[in-house]
Symmetry: C2
Subunit: 138 residues, 2 copies
DNA sequence: GTTAGTGCAAACTCTTTGCAGCACT
DNA sequence: AGTGCTGCAAAGAGTTTGCACTAAC
């Protein structure tokens, strides 16, 4: 069974939830609610409020990760339970994944310096992707 | 006449702008509009919309840095033209500054790997401050 | 059959804006 | 004097919620 992730989390297995998960599984990068909605609606009728409720439920169960971005929209992604960071083009918003996280070592040091118990971090790089760079030079 | 940062930026030197700058200068950490407003209003009458307009004008001139945080509010801070990161307690929201930024070296490597021209990064740590930690153990 | 999920519209939070009047250079 | 600043209220974007209906278990 492919989507027993819903049942495991004691969530009912509905058409809309499967569709939302499917869209996010096939996306290489985090997606905002409006884009998830317009993707899903192509195949399954769904209201915007249901989109938000599904995203909230899945995030609460830890199935999705959510992140409020600088553009004012909340982005959702499948929680792969791997620690990831992203690099976003400031011109076209194209986003790619960064493989390594060099910060865990820093967290220990930070704890020694500040006394804070470090529970996490959020790191985002911004830049200009090769396509935009060549477009602006050409 | 003292060198005025407002005049240098071709902004009129008004009571409210001075008050906003004063509040931010005396704050160790970034502040959201609502808190800046309620601080300023203690000494200078001001509307909320003016607060936002002042913060927008000062940010546009590069006098302030703005950052939309995960709590949905935009935080403002004086632009010290130094690169800084912050560590925020997830329990009491107390925020302190981190001195060193270990990421510039990483940016070069990232450029080689991805082809992106790296223009910046945003890094936030979360944790539990010593006060909250002891409060929760007691 | 019971509980959880959904659609619709209204509400909510933070922020922005149009317009008329006021303050700074 | 003239332009830019400000207050008020209304609007805007993104998201959340109350209620009646529907679908999954």
């Amino acid at each position: 069974m492919k989507h027993n992730i819903l049942q495991e989390s004691h969530l009912k297995d509905t058409k809309r939830r499967r569709a939302v998960l499917h869209v996010l599984e096939n996306s290489g990068a985090p997606m905002a609610a409006d884009r998830i909605y317009s993707q899903v609606v192509k195949s399954v009728p769904m209201s915007v409020s249901t989109t938000y409720r599904i995203l909230a439920a899945l995030s609460e169960k830890g199935i999705l990760l959510k992140n409020l971005s600088q553009d004012g929209k909340t982005y959702y992604q499948i929680n792969s339970h791997q620690h990831k960071h992203y690099l976003t083009c400031t011109l076209c918003n194209n986003t790619i994944e960064i493989k390594d996280c060099p910060l865990n070592a820093l967290e220990d040091e930070l704890n020694k310096d500040t006394g804070y118990i470090i529970t996490g971090h959020h790191l985002e790089f911004t830049g200009i992707c090769p396509e935009c760079a060549s477009r602006n030079h050409g």
